[in-house]
C-alpha cells in the first residue's frame, strides 16, 4: 500500500481509531492490531511476499534467544541470521545482477556463456527489513541488547507498517522497548506528527512527483534532449530524490508519532552540508549510521592506520551503493562518494563552520554524482555528462512549460521552508508543537490546499525499489 493512495487514507484512520479505542491502551492488544495492520499494509502490494517477512522474523527471533543463551556457539547463531538475511537479499535482489555481470565479464574476452537467470520480482522493502532484523541479532551478539521473549512485539518491530517498506531503518534498541511499554496519548505528539505528515505529503506529491513528471522523459532518452534540458533535469533530480525520500520518512515518522512511537530522524537538511562527510551525517541517517556501526567500524574504522581508514571508507560506500540497487550505476555512485569522503579526510577539507561556497560546491558534487544513480545505464550517464559539459546552452528548455512553472512553485515553497528550518536551527520533528493552535490550523490548511491544487498523479516512492 502506498502512503499517497486512497487506500491508505482509509486504512490509517481505521487503524488509528481502533488502536486508541482499545480499553486501557492494553499493550498486547495494541501490538496484535499493529501486527495485523502491518501485514495488511504489506500484503496489499503482494501477499505472497509476507512469507519472507514472516520467515525472517521467525529466524531472528529464535537466533536472538539462542545467541543470548548459548555459551560457546554464539558466533555460529549470529552467522545463521547473517546468512539467512543476506541470502534473502542475494536471491531476490542480486542473483540476476551477479549472473548478468558474470556473463558480461566473459563476453569481454570473447567467450559466450549461458547461465540461467531467475524470473522473480524484487520484494518491496526487502533491503530495509533484512537490515533491521540482522542488526537485532548483531546487537545481541555484541551484548548491547537483550533479546525479547515477546514474539508479537518482535514481529511488530520487524513489520511495523510506517517504516516497513522504505525505512527509516529502526534499531531494535529504539523500537522494541517502545513496543513493550504502554503508549499514552500526548497532544504534542499529535501536533508534531500531524504537521510532519502534511509536510511529508507536500514534499512527496507536490515537489518530488512534479519533478518526476518533468524529468523522467529526459532521463529515459537523454540522447534526444538539448544541454539546457539535460542540465535542468540533473539539477532537479537532486531535489526529486531528496523530497521523495525525506517526504516518505516524514510521513512514516509522523504516522508513528500518532500511534505513540518515536522514530529516529532520517534527514536533516542535507543540502545545507558544507562537505560530503557532513552530507552523509544528514542524508538517510538511519542507513549511514547502520553502515557505520555494522560495516565501517567492524572493518576497523579509523583505528588501523591511514591506508586502512581509506579502504574502509571506500568499501563502506561501495557496498552502500550496492545496497541501493543491483546495478553497476549504484556501485559507481557509492564509489565516488567513498573517494570524496577519503579525499576530504585525507586533506582535512571538512569545514568547521557553515560557508556558502562550500555548501554550493558540495551540492554541485552531490548533484553530479546523482547522475549515476538516476541514469538508466552507464551509457546514458556518459551521454548526460557529455551534454552537460560540452553544451551548447543557447537552446531553451524543451518540455511542458506549465508543469515547469508549477514544479518551480512547489520547489520554491519547499526550499524556503527548509531554509527557514536551517536559519532558525529547528527540526521538523518537533515543529508542530511549537506553533500556536490558530497558526497551526492556518498552516495545515495552507499546506493541504497546496497539496490538493498542485499534487502530481501518484507515482511510486523512489526508495521502494531498494
Amino acid at each position: 500500500m502506498l502512503f499517497n493512495s486512497l487506500a491508505f487514507l482509509i486504512f490509517f484512520p481505521t487503524v488509528f481509531i481502533l488502536y486508541w479505542s482499545i480499553p486501557n491502551n492494553k499493550i498486547k492488544t495494541q501490538n496484535v492490531l499493529l501486527l495485523i495492520a502491518s501485514y495488511v499494509f504489506y500484503g496489499w502490494w503482494d501477499w505472497r511476499f509476507l512469507s519472507l517477512i514472516a520467515f525472517s522474523t521467525v529466524v531472528d527471533y529464535f537466533v536472538g534467544l539462542q545467541i543470548a543463551n548459548a555459551k560457546n556457539n554464539r558466533k555460529r547463531w549470529l552467522l545463521v541470521s547473517v546468512f539467512v538475511n543476506l541470502g534473502l537479499l542475494a536471491t531476490f535482489k542480486y542473483f540476476n545482477f551477479f549472473i548478468e555481470s558474470w556473463i558480461e565479464l566473459w563476453s569481454l574476452i570473447g567467450l559466450e556463456t549461458h547461465v540461467g537467470t531467475l524470473n522473480i520480482v524484487l520484494p518491496v522493502g526487502i533491503s530495509f527489513y533484512t537490515f533491521q532484523t540482522m542488526s537485532y541479532s548483531i546487537d545481541i551478539y555484541r551484548k548491547e541488547l537483550q533479546p525479547t521473549k515477546d514474539f508479537i512485539a518482535f514481529s511488530t518491530f520487524v513489520s511495523f507498517f510506517p517504516q516497513l517498506v522504505a525505512g527509516p531503518i529502526e534499531r531494535a534498541s529504539n523500537l522494541i522497548p517502545q513496543l513493550l511499554t504502554k503508549r499514552e496519548w500526548k497532544h504534542e505528539n499529535f501536533k508534531n506528527g500531524f504537521f510532519q505528515i502534511c509536510i511529508g505529503f507536500f514534499r512527496k506529491v507536490v515537489v518530488a512527483d512534479s519533478i518526476g513528471a518533468l524529468i523522467d522523459g529526459v532521463y529515459n532518452e537523454p540522447g534526444i534532449h538539448n544541454s539546457t534540458t539535460i542540465g535542468l533535469a540533473v539539477f532537479l533530480y537532486s531535489f526529486q530524490i531528496y523530497f521523495d525520500f525525506s517526504g516518505y520518512s516524514d510521513i512514516a515518522i509522523g504516522t508513528a508519532k500518532l500511534l505513540g512511537f518515536q522514530f529516529k530522524r532520517n534527514f536533516n537538511l542535507p543540502y545545507f552540508s558544507t562537505s560530503i562527510t557532513e552530507f552523509w551525517r544528514r542524508w538517510h541517517i538511519s542507513l549511514s549510521s547502520w553502515l557505520r556501526d555494522y560495516l565501517y567500524i567492524p572493518l576497523g574504522g579509523n583505528r588501523k592506520g591511514t591506508v586502512m581508514l581509506y579502504r574502509n571508507l571506500f568499501l563502506t560506500m561501495l557496498l552502500g551503493g550496492l545496497w541501493h540497487g543491483s546495478s553497476w550505476n549504484f556501485v559507481i555512485w557509492g564509489m565516488f562518494h567513498g573517494i570524496l569522503l577519503a579525499i576530504e579526510r585525507g586533506f582535512g577539507l571538512i569545514p568547521k563552520k557553515y560557508n556558502l561556497f562550500n555548501n554550493l560546491l558540495t551540492f554541485f558534487l552531490v548533484t553530479l554524482i546523482w547522475i549515476f544513480f538516476r541514469a538508466l545505464d552507464f551509457g546514458d550517464a556518459k551521454i548526460i555528462f557529455q551534454k552537460l559539459f560540452t553544451g551548447p546552452y543557447r537552446e531553451l528548455y524543451i518540455g511542458d512549460i506549465g508543469l515547469l512553472v508549477s514544479t518551480f512553485y512547489g520547489l520554491t515553497l519547499a526550499l524556503l521552508f527548509d531554509l527557514y528550518l536551517f536559519r532558525k536551527g529547528l527540526f521538523l520533528e518537533d515543529l508542530g508543537n511549537r506553533i500556536k493552535n490558530v497558526a497551526f490550523a492556518l498552516a495545515i490548511s495552507f499546506i493541504v490546499l497546496n497539496i490538493i491544487l498542485f499534487y502530481s498523479s501518484a507515482s511510486n516512492f523512489i526508495y521502494f525499489q531498494f
Partner: protein, 311 residues
C-alpha cells in the same frame, strides 16, 4: 485527547473555509479565460460547441493534424496534449446540437492498452458544476472523484490554478478554429533527422500480442457512440498519419472493432508513404505542411463516405 480532537476539527473547518474562498476566486477567473491550450480552449469549446457543424476531438495528434479552417468557419478542433478517449467521452457528454459531425482521433496502441484507466477523463471535472450532462458523466464514470469534488471544491482545479491565474492576466483569445499548426525550428528538424537516421524500427510500439481490446477504451467508445446516437450526430473515428507503424493484424483488429459497432473508422496511419521529413516534426506529429496535406485528404475521405457533402 479532547484537545487534539478539538484542534483537528478546528483545522478541518479552517481548511474548508480556505477551500471555498480559493475555489471561488479560481472558478471566477477561469470563466473569463479564452487563452491557452487547456482552460481557455475548453471555454471556447463551450461557447461554440452547440453552433459549429464539425468538431474534432482527440490528442495532440488531432490538435496538430486537422486544420479545421479547411472545413469552413463552422468547425472547431478541441484536440489537446495527452488527452485520450475518456476525455473525448467527457467532451461528447456536453454536446447537444443535432446532426453535428463529430470526428474522434484515436491511436492504435491506445486501443489495446490494458493499463489505461481513463485518468485523462478527469480533466473536465471542474466544469461538472456548470454542466448537468457532464455532471452526470462524472457521477457514473468517476464516482470517487465526483464525490471528493463535492466535499473539497478545489480538488477539480488540481494542476490548473497557476495556469488560470497566469492566463487571467492576459487578454487574448484562442484562435477560432482551435487548430494549432507546428512549424518545427531548425534545431528540431536537425534532431529529428538525426533520430530518423539512427532509428531502425518503429513498428507496433506500445502494443503487446495477442491483441485484445482494452476494457476502458471500449467503455468510452460505447459512451461516445451513445451520445452521438442521442444527438443524431455523424460520428467518425479516425487515425491520422504517423511514422510509428503497426502491422496488418493491428489494422484489421481495430477496423473490425469499429465495424462491429457500426461506426465509420478511417485508418490513415500509412497515408504518407514517402518519407519526406519536411512533413513531420517527429515520428508522430505532422508539421503544418503535413497537416495541410492530410486535412485535404481527410475531407475528401469524409465526402467519399457521405459524411460531408461531395466536393
Amino acid at each position: 485527547m479532547k484537545k487534539s480532537i478539538l484542534l483537528f476539527f478546528g483545522t478541518l473547518l479552517t481548511f474548508l473555509i480556505f477551500d471555498r474562498i480559493v475555489t471561488m476566486v479560481i472558478s471566477n477567473a477561469e470563466k473569463k479565460i479564452f487563452i491557452g491550450s487547456s482552460i481557455g480552449k475548453v471555454n471556447q469549446f463551450s461557447k461554440v460547441k452547440d453552433s459549429v457543424d464539425v468538431l474534432v476531438l482527440g490528442s495532440s495528434r488531432a490538435l496538430h493534424h486537422v486544420d479545421t479552417r479547411n472545413f469552413g468557419e463552422s468547425a472547431f478542433n478541441i484536440g489537446a496534449d495527452g488527452k485520450k478517449v475518456a476525455y473525448c467521452a467527457a467532451l461528447s457528454s456536453m454536446l447537444q446540437k443535432k446532426g453535428q459531425i463529430v470526428l474522434v482521433h484515436i491511436d492504435h496502441n491506445r486501443v489495446f492498452d490494458k493499463d489505461y484507466e481513463g485518468r485523462d477523463g478527469k480533466g473536465l471535472l471542474y466544469k461538472a458544476e456548470s454542466n448537468e450532462n457532464l455532471s452526470e458523466f462524472y457521477k457514473t464514470k468517476f464516482p470517487t472523484e465526483y464525490f471528493i469534488s463535492k466535499g473539497v471544491h478545489s480538488y477539480p482545479y488540481n494542476g490548473k490554478a497557476l495556469i488560470i491565474l497566469k492566463n487571467f492576466l492576459v487578454k487574448d483569445s484562442v484562435n477560432q478554429s482551435g487548430y494549432e499548426p507546428i512549424f518545427p525550428t531548425e534545431e528540431q528538424k536537425a534532431v529529428f533527422a538525426n533520430m530518423f537516421k539512427e532509428e531502425k524500427s518503429q513498428m507496433n510500439i506500445g502494443i503487446t500480442k495477442p491483441l485484445s481490446i482494452g476494457d476502458e477504451f471500449e467503455k468510452y467508445v460505447d459512451y461516445i457512440q451513445e451520445t452521438a446516437v442521442a444527438n443524431g450526430s455523424k460520428l467518425v473515428f479516425f487515425t491520422s498519419p504517423s511514422l510509428s507503424k503497426v502491422d496488418g493484424e493491428v489494422h484489421d483488429k481495430v477496423g473490425k472493432f469499429f465495424e462491429n459497432r457500426g461506426i465509420l473508422y478511417l485508418d490513415h496511419l500509412d497515408y504518407f508513404e514517402n518519407q519526406d521529413l519536411t512533413l513531420w516534426k517527429d515520428y508522430t506529429h505532422l508539421s503544418a505542411k503535413g497537416a495541410n496535406l492530410y486535412t485535404g485528404f481527410l475531407k475528401a475521405q469524409l465526402a467519399e463516405h457521405g459524411v460531408l457533402p461531395a466536393q
